[in-house]
């Protein structure tokens, strides 16, 4: 299981079918990389980016919880 798969599994719990599209965008726009090339070194930045972006369409508490779980993968 790659780091991206782990992040995707967490995101799916909060975002359902939007998780894949949302993470793809975060990787490409915020980290400037492809999902397949995500390593543990990217996790911290990805978690931060996910929290900020997710706040636009889910509760802040849920966004924080999702970011925290992603950060735990680092």
């Amino acid at each position: 299981m790659t780091p991206y798969d782990s992040v995707l599994a967490i995101a799916k719990v909060f975002l359902g079918p939007a998780a894949e599209s949302f993470l793809l965008k975060q990787c490409q726009v915020a980290l400037k990389t492809e999902p397949a090339k995500i390593t543990k070194a990217h996790i911290k930045d990805l978690a931060m980016s996910v929290e900020i972006a997710a706040c636009r369409f889910i509760d802040r508490a849920k966004a924080e919880s999702m970011a925290k779980q992603i950060l735990a993968l680092a």
Binding site: K12, V13, F14, L15, G16, P17, A18, S21, F22, R56, F57, I58, D59, K62
Partner: protein
């Protein structure tokens, strides 16, 4: 154990069943207790009444024989009269003592016990008076006979009165036993009504709690669904419980997040086109 709706319903209905079993158990216990109480009361009252009547019969028979002895002792001789009357009279007096002791043991209250104790002690006085009357009849002067007979008559009368008191106490015990049955019945009925009402109140409380635990999150989800169906996506989905409805709320939350995200994406994509 996870607090799912299935488990909540099982616990709720299980609780109601246990409650019903407790109520039924108390009801059955009350009925058996009532039956036992009625049987005991009837048995004791009836026994005391029967013993009192028996004492009276033995007393009358003893006095009849002693009167026969006193009347015949001069004509048929001391030994013959003794054999004919006094042995039987002794037997009757012994029976009275035994019965009085038995009545004292089974008497349901102090008042009745005292009456039968008087009979038992009255037999002793009676026997002493009888002994003096017999001695006077066999050897004494006519004055001594008259005095002994008067003392005997007095003790016989006294024993007769005591026996009558005992008979009245026996009848009273039988009557009281019936009153006891009635009061125990009333108590059992009120007790059953009280326990049933308590069971009903607990059942209503449990049903209300169960219904509330299920309906509150369902009402919330219904409100959220109505808002979304009307195009208002700015609603928050709360997870009220850790059961199936809580899981449904999470699914609904994910679905709502996806809808909002895709809507946002669509709007972002169409924005540059609109500006062009």
């Amino acid at each position: 154990m996870k607090p799912t709706i299935r488990n909540k319903l099982l616990a709720g209905f299980g609780g109601v069943l246990i409650l019903m079993a407790i109520v039924a158990g108390i009801g059955i216990y009350s009925v058996f207790r009532l039956e036992k109480s009625a049987r005991d009361a009837t048995r004791i009252g009836g026994q005391l009444n029967a013993v009192a009547l028996e004492i009276q019969v033995h007393n009358l028979e003893a006095q009849r024989r002693i009167k026969g002895y006193l009347a015949d002792v001069k004509t048929i001789g001391s030994q013959a009269a003794h054999d004919k009357y006094l042995d039987e009279a002794d037997f009757e007096l012994h029976e009275i003592e035994v019965l009085a002791d038995r009545a004292v043991r089974i008497a349901p209250d102090e008042e009745k016990r005292v009456k039968f104790e008087k009979i038992a002690s009255g037999v002793g006085v009676y026997e002493t008076a009888l002994k003096h009357a017999v001695e006077a009849a066999e050897q004494g002067t006519s004055e001594a006979q008259a005095a002994a007979n008067a003392a005997y008559d007095e003790s016989a009368e006294h024993l007769h009165e005591n026996a009558e008191d005992g008979e009245a106490a026996g009848k009273d015990a039988a009557q009281t036993s019936q009153e006891d049955i009635v009061s125990t019945s009333r108590l059992a009925v009120w007790f059953s009504i009280g326990v049933s009402l308590l069971g009903m109140l607990l059942g209503i409380g449990m049903s209300y709690g169960l219904a509330r635990a299920i309906l509150t999150p369902v009402d919330h989800l219904k409100g959220v669904a109505e808002n979304v169906s009307l195009g208002n996506l700015d609603v928050s989905v709360q997870r009220y419980s850790e059961d199936e409805i809580g899981d449904l709320a999470d699914s609904f939350s994910r679905m709502l997040a996806a809808v909002k995200y895709f809507q946002m994406e669509a709007m972002e994509k169409s924005a540059p086109e609109r500006t062009l």
